[in-house]
Each structure stands twice: as C-alpha cells, then as structure tokens.
C-alpha cells in the first residue's frame, strides 16, 4: 500500500493547518503569548510560544499567513520577553534568562507557583532561533527580530542552571532554589543541551553532555535495540528542530545508530506494546498507538468517579512500564511521520477512521480513550486542545513534507556549535 493511498496530501494539509489554527485561536495579540491549552483561563506556556515561533514560518511558506503578520506576531512576543521582569521574584516572568513555565496570559507574571523551567525555556529559545533563521530579510522589522532573538539567547545563563551539578537541573523556584531532579536518562532534552553547549556567553561545562548521556540505557526490547525512553514525545521534541539523520555523538557512534533511527525504533516499540496490549484496553493494536504526555481521564471527573481502574489525568504515558490507562494520543502518530512515514500514515488513517471524534474542526484533541466509551460507543475524548500537541504536529508534518525547520536550523551557528561541543560528528555537520 503506498503512502499516498493511506492519507493524501490534501488531508495532511488540512490536519496541519488545523493544528496551526491553535496559535491563532489562543494568542493574546497584545503580547504574543500563547495559551497552554484551549480551556478557559489557561495560562500561557513558554514552550508553546516556542512552538508558535517555529510554526509562523511554516504558515508563511504554506500561504496561511502573510509574512508581515508572522513577523509582527513574532516581534510582539519577543519584545515581551525582552522587557519582562527578570528579577526572579515569585511574581516575575523569569530569572537569569530563563522563564517560568506558566505565565499569566495578560501580564506575563508567573502563575501556579510554576518552576523556572530549563527545558521549556530551551523550547522557547529554539523557536526563537527558528524565527531568526527564517526571517532574514534586511528590513527594520526582521532586523529587530533577529537582534531580539540574539539578545534573548545570549542572556540565558545555562551554566547557572547546573546548580553546581554535572547535569542541568529541571528547574528552580524562588521559594526553594533548584528542584531535586536533574535531567537524567534519555528524554526530550537534547535540544536543551545543544543550545546550552553552544552558548558563547554562558555555556555548560565541557563534561556536562557526557555526564547526561552517562545516564542513558541502551535496551533490547521487543526485538529492537534502542535508547530507552517511555513516552513518545521524548523521541520527538528535540527532533522537531534538529535533523539528527546521520549525525552521531559518542554514544550513538558506539551503538552504530543515530537519534533519528532511534526514534523510528521507539515507534516500532510503541506498536509492539499496543499489539501486546498487556492491560487489555480497547482499541489498541499495531495501527492504534500513541502513549505519550497528554491530557487524559481522571477519577476526579464526576462522570468517572465510579471507575475502579486508576486514571491518570494529565500524565506522561509511556511504554512498556506505563502509566497506561487506555489513553492514546492521535496526534503522536502525525508527529512520528518523519521517522516512519508508512507506519505512521497507517496509524493516522486507522485511528481517524475508528475514532473520528478525536478531531474538533480537524484539530486533534489531546487524547482519546476507547475503553471509556460513551453511551453511543464513541471513545472518551479530552475536551482540551494543547499547544504542545498542535505545535509538534505543525513542525513534524512540515519536516516530513519539506524539511523546512530542519533546513533552517542546520544553518544556525549556535546549534552547530552546540552539537559539535556535545561531540556530534558526521552527516550534514
């Protein structure tokens, strides 16, 4: 079966454009901030802003948005971050060039006592760098945009975020300092390390990346050798910006693999898990998978209060050790397109045929759960649309279609420098 017959270009375009629509629906035009999710009173998420900044160039290329509009939206939010309160006080926006994870949509002040987030700041900065690599015209607006991005990137004090440890800490709070957790084990944070290693102003120590990769586990599971991480988004997020095909760090050279191929294998492992379906949930099979970080049903919801099984709400679902409560994310298959297009297209078509209710106006909801079917036999569907989900769809579909983001970031000198300092060699490097 050819890829084209599975799902055609026009359909893919519809889904990608609908995902992009999220950034238009949830933006605060006054400051460019984007809501974390579509629910009422959602705060802004700095990572979602990073995805939006990466999505605007896609929209321009696809003709969904005028270049001037995209530049204006980007400038708006970049200026906001430039001017934001960097005092690190409990109500500030950031500290040391990093930003709190969740911000008030209107004022930009920290909300929910959220942490100063290293990974989410990295996703924001990656988005900003994408914008600066795309908007390269010699106009006052685009010149200003690039200067702002440069300033925001250079002021991030990555070295400070190590908190004296070998690896980067997950976060910091004014109330208690650095959080207990470091970034350990393979996950979505290669882009964080690459940006932090490539900084000309506040780079990490030389051994930091090696210290992180020392915590990796190379596993043989379900017949596949791969660098283990449970939730699928961990195999996708850094890849939205960086083209890992053919470039290898020391670890991957040793394993005769690369991170791109590793993500392909992670998708195979997802399929194998769904085929085995150890918890016997409805719907799971080799063409219906997608355990990742997403919204989900919760025992706290009144309609599910009597459900005897444990439900996890918003959680990083993963394979093979869970958590798994029968909740899948349809968008995770779209975000897998660049790695394993045939497999992903099969899954996209199959899941949409069986559970069309996961789309609202062509936009993927965060998750669905066929085990918790409604009276009309339709799957339980999250009523939330999340910016991270929509952003990764826009970017990965684009990388699949045109490799636009990858091409832009391949030319980014900071990404180059970071990859090289982390020990990457070969391929396009």
């Amino acid at each position: 079966m050819s890829s084209e017959s599975l799902i055609n270009e026009q359909r893919l375009d519809q889904l990608q454009r609908a995902a992009f629509g999220y950034f238009l629906q949830t933006v605060n035009p006054a400051n460019g901030l984007i809501a974390d999710n579509s629910r009422e009173n959602s705060p802004a998420s700095i990572a979602v802003v990073g995805f939006a900044l990466s999505a605007y160039p896609v929209a321009v290329e696809r003709g969904w948005m005028a270049r001037a509009d995209a530049v204006e939206r980007s400038l708006s939010v970049l200026r906001f971050f430039r001017d934001s309160d960097q005092s690190g006080s409990p109500e500030a926006t950031g500290f040391k060039g990093f930003y709190y994870h969740f911000l008030d949509m209107r004022t930009g002040a920290r909300v929910w006592r959220s942490e100063l987030s290293t990974i989410d700041t990295a996703l924001l900065i990656a988005g900003a760098l994408t914008a600066s690599m795309y908007f390269t015209a010699n106009t006052p607006e685009e010149n200003e945009l690039r200067e702002l991005v440069e300033m925001l990137y250079l002021r991030v004090d990555w070295r400070w975020s190590q908190g004296g440890a070998a690896t980067i800490r997950q976060g910091w709070k004014p109330e208690c300092g650095f959080l207990h957790y470091g970034w350990e084990g393979y996950n979505e944070s290669i882009v964080l390390y690459v940006l932090a290693m490539g900084s000309p102003t506040h780079p990490l120590k030389d051994n930091s990346y090696e210290a992180w990769t020392a915590t990796y586990q190379w596993e043989h599971l379900y017949g596949y050798d791969y660098l283990y991480a449970g939730p699928l988004f961990m195999h996708q997020f850094s890849h939205a910006w960086i083209d890992f095909r053919g470039i290898r760090d020391r670890f991957m050279r040793e394993k005769r693999c690369d991170y791109f191929e590793n993500s392909r294998r992670a998708i195979e492992v997802q399929r194998e898990y769904a085929r085995r379906n150890p918890n016997r949930f409805a719907g799971y099979d080799e063409n219906c998978w997608g355990l990742t970080a997403c919204d989900g049903p919760s025992n706290l919801l009144p309609e599910l209060a009597n459900e005897r099984r444990r439900l996890f709400g918003y959680a990083a679902r993963g394979v093979p050790y869970g958590p798994d409560d029968g909740t899948l994310s349809g968008w995770a298959a779209l975000a897998s397109l660049p790695f394993a297009s045939e497999i992903s297209l099969c899954a996209i078509r199959n899941m949409l045929q069986r559970y069309p209710e996961m789309l609202t106006a062509q936009q993927y909801s965060s998750s669905f759960n066929p085990t918790l079917a409604n009276a009309d036999s339709s799957a339980w569907v999250s009523d939330g649309h999340f910016g991270l989900d929509q952003g990764i769809v826009v970017m990965m579909v684009e990388n699949y279609r045109s490799q636009l983001i990858w091409r832009l970031m391949r030319d980014c000198p900071y990404v180059h420098a970071g990859l090289r300092r982390a020990g990457f060699r070969g391929g396009w490097l």
């Binding site: 709070k173 990796y216 050798d225």
Partner: protein, 507 residues
C-alpha cells in the same frame, strides 16, 4: 511503644516468644569460664557472628562468641524473618481484596486480625530461632558469653569483667537504625525495625519516613493491613540506588495499594498534640502537616562501634561507615577482623554470611579471599519485589564499559500472565557485542528467587549464550531469563549469517 536498643524483647510473652528467648538468650544463663587463649573470639552473634563461630568451630578452632542481647541479631529477631512473615499475610489480604482479578469471589467479610498476624509471625520466628540457638552453639563446641564486650588490649577483651585472650578476633556487632536526623523525634515514641514487630495493635494512621528497603516493605504491609499509610521519601524515587524504572514501578504499585506517596519530601519537625503525632513535611516550596498515630523511621542504619573500646585494640573506625577494613576484611589491628553490618556498605544477611566465611579463611587459615570478589545480589521484598545483582548500567558506563540491556517485560511471560503477575521486568546487562553478564535487575513478584539464577551465571562465568541452552521448566516466571538469553541469541543472526542460512536452505 518501646524505644530502640531495648534489651531482650518487648514482644508479648507468649509461648512462641518464650521458646525464642530460650533459644537466643536463655533465662538464668551463666557464662562459662574462659579457656586459655581462643583461636577466635567473635563479638556479636548476628548472622556474621554465628556463621563465623560455627564455621571456625567446625574446622577445629577454639571459639568464643559474645553477644550483648539476642543470638540471631537483627535478621532473626527484628529484621528479615519477622518482616517476611508479616509480608506474606499482607499479600494474602491484598489478594483477597483483589479476588475478582483472579476470577474468585471477594470474601464477604475481610477483617484484619492484627494480633493473629503477629502471633503467626512470632511462631515462625520461634521456629527459625532453633537453628540460631545457644544449644546448637554449645553442641558445636563454642563458648557462649552474654554481656557487653570491650577491648582491653590488642589481643584481649573483657565481658562483664571476665578477660578473654585471643589470637584472632572478629567484630560482628551489626548496625542499628539511624534516627538522628529528624528534629523532635527523640522526644516522642516512634517505631523502628527494633520495636515494630512487638506491636499488638495496628496503628490507624502510620507515617513511614524513609523510602529504603525497610520503609518500602513495611509501608506496603501495614497499608495492606488497613493502616492509612503515608510514606515520605527525601529522594525523587524510592530505593534510590535501584534503577529508575524499578523505582517507578514500585511507586505505581504503592499508589495502587492506596499508600499516600510523598517523594522529594523531608520531615522537618515532629511533635505531639492532643494525643496524636504531628509531622511537618516539606517538599521544595510546598509544606504540609500530617497527623498520625505512629511513625516508623527507616532512614538508614549506623554501625554498632561504640562501647567496644576499639581505641584500646588499635582498631580504626568511623561512626558512619563502621570498622575500617581492607579488602581481606582485616582492620588496622592485624589480629582483628570485621564482618557484616559493622563494616559493610551492603547491609544484608547474606553479605554478612559471606563476609564471615571470608574472615574465617583469612584469619585462621592464611586465606587471601577478597570482599571485592563477591557477587552480591539483593532484593527488596515489596510487591512487586525488586532484585539486583552486579553492575547497574550507570556504573558500567562510568567505568567505560559499553553496555547493552536485554529487557523482557513480565507481560511477555506466560506464567506471569497466568498468575496475573505481569507488573515488572527482567533486565540483564551485558557487555556490548559479548554475552558476558555485567548485572541484572528483576522486578517481579518472585524477583528474589529469580535473581539467584543470574548470580549463579555470573559467579560461574556463564554468559547469555549458554543460558539460552538451559531448559527452563514451563511455565515458570524464571522463563523470562531464558527469553532474555534467546533475545541475545537472535541478535547474533547478523544479515550476513541470515543470508548464508537462506542460501543453505535452498536445497
């Protein structure tokens, strides 16, 4: 509730406990007259001390054994034996509540009879105490002294004023709970492993401080008995030395059982108000006060090195790490050795046993056996249990050893599916592109039994390739190990070999 370091026992003085005490510290005991000079004087009659005394006496040595409290030490009296006995009952209660999962009816009236649980435990403990009894020691020719030992010179010590001379001595005084780190704790009654098995009533609300093996095992057991249980662990995961997935599965299991899990959480203050214990817990920027009826402290152990007058013997020690020994378990005094919890990082009964055997060889028979040569497995007996042997991936990578892990989830094992015990995995770490086993972690209902096969393979130098040829009885959960070995064998089928095989099969 009794504080730690209780002499003898505060358990209900029933027939079981009378039998145990008669075995491990008889009433009216009179110490013997010391013989001239002993080949070996053993201080402490826990696992290490008993093993060394029996082994040395069996080989013809003149042996004295000194114990200040109970023969059998922690393992028999306040450790492995009583905890495993109550864990068994706790598991049964959990299975009764989950009977429908096994296609059975949930019993109509599941009442917890805590007194019966503890009586059964005391019966088991009394029975097992027979093998650690003073009578067996006497029969083996060992002179047994009860009392506090203290060194009076480099080759002498005294027990309650009686002087003993030795050619060699072994310090096997064990360890005790470390309870010094929580403000307010010493002012209240609290539980440790040393008195929790003396309880006669189930606390309604229990706070377990510490997420090590003891805290995890007993938190789950007491929760399953019906105590509202909170477990507070200062680290981000339980069992911080174990690998992340293992600890995560345990956290999930605790949550399923109904334990209130509080990770990254430190107890910063404890006080009593209105007859209940109030504990302030802090996690990063979040703090909460919980009210409970009992507090179990499982925040590590410290070696028993005080009261021995080690300075007089010229034995170097540290109050945190214990007696300083070399790889041959010899202290700074060449006549004096140490074994077990008093000197080892891995404080397990089986390491105490193994180290004691090394000491007998090295001290009495000019042996050169090394502690570092041991392959030591361990297991935390939660449900699922978590067992490990050898290197962790992290350790292998720190030593620049390329490592690959063969993982078999228990949901791929027929017997685990049949038993509805699918939570867990077998992970076997090998040196990349070889079949040499570096270590393994098993999370499974019977992980403690399963890890022994890996330990055997490592000690015997058997690789995964050979394990793949070992026929495992079907269906057993240990078949997971065979599956990992089979997975290794399949990776040997390189594309070239596959091509050759296809060519061969064209006939």
């Amino acid at each position: 509730m009794q504080q730690r370091n209780a002499f003898y026992s505060t358990a209900p003085p029933d027939a079981h406990d009378r039998e145990r005490l008669e075995n491990v510290h008889p009433t009216g005991w009179r110490n013997p007259q010391p013989a001239g000079r002993y080949n070996l004087v053993v201080v402490g009659a826990g696992t290490a001390g008993l093993v060394a005394a029996h082994a040395a006496a069996a080989l013809g040595a003149k042996v004295a054994l000194i114990e200040r409290n109970l023969l059998g030490g922690d393992c028999l009296n306040v450790g492995c034996v009583p905890s495993k006995a109550i864990i068994r009952t706790a598991r049964l209660y959990a299975e009764m509540r989950n009977a429908e999962q096994y296609g059975a009816q949930i019993p109509g009236d599941i009442r917890i009879d805590f007194a019966a649980v503890m009586e059964r435990m005391r019966g088991i403990r009394a029975r097992i105490s027979r093998s650690d009894s003073v009578h067996r020691l006497i029969a083996a020719g060992v002179d047994v002294f009860f009392g506090q030992a203290y060194f009076t010179g480099t080759d002498t010590l005294a027990v309650d004023g009686t002087k003993l001379r030795f050619k060699k001595a072994l310090i096997a005084t064990g360890a005790r709970p470390n309870t010094t780190c929580i403000p307010g704790l010493v002012e209240i009654d609290y539980l440790t492993n040393e008195n929790i098995f003396d309880l006669t009533e189930l606390p309604r609300r229990l706070l377990v401080i510490g997420g090590g093996p003891l805290g995890c095992e007993l938190a789950q057991a007491f929760c399953r008995f019906g105590a509202q249980t909170i477990i507070a662990q200062e680290k981000p995961l339980f069992l911080p030395k174990e690998e992340r997935d293992a600890a995560q599965l345990l956290s999930d299991a605790f949550a399923r059982d109904g334990i209130e899990v509080r990770l990254n959480t430190k107890a910063v203050n404890i006080r009593v108000e209105g007859g209940q214990k109030l504990v302030d817990l802090v996690s990063d920027d979040y703090s909460i006060t919980v009210a409970v009826d009992a507090i179990l402290v499982g925040t590590g152990r410290v070696p028993n090195v005080d009261s021995l007058n080690l300075e007089a013997a010229g034995v170097d020690f540290d109050t945190i790490t214990g007696i300083r020994v070399d790889d041959f378990l010899c202290s700074s005094n060449r006549r004096i050795y140490a074994a077990g919890d008093a000197c080892l990082e891995h404080k397990f009964t089986h390491t105490a046993d193994a180290s004691a055997r090394i000491v007998v060889q090295n001290a009495l028979f000019l042996g050169r056996q090394r502690l570092s040569a041991l392959t030591i497995p361990w297991c935390t007996y939660t449900d699922p249990a978590i067992a490990h042997v050898g290197l962790y991936v992290r350790q292998a990578r720190e030593r620049d050893i390329p490592v690959k892990t063969f993982t078999i989830p228990m949901h791929d094992v027929d017997r685990a599916i049949a038993d509805d015990e699918e939570v867990g995995f077998v992970k076997i770490h090998v040196k990349e592109r070889t079949d040499r086993i570096l270590g393994a972690t098993i999370v499974a209902r019977h992980a403690g039994d399963m890890i022994n096969e890996i330990t055997l393979a490592m000690v015997a130098g058997i690789g995964l390739r050979t394990l793949a040829h070992v026929i495992h009885a079907y269906p057993t959960q240990a078949e997971a190990i065979k599956k990992a070995a089979d997975a290794y064998n399949r990776t040997r089928l390189t594309p070239r070999i596959q091509w050759l095989l296809r060519r061969w099969l064209t006939w």
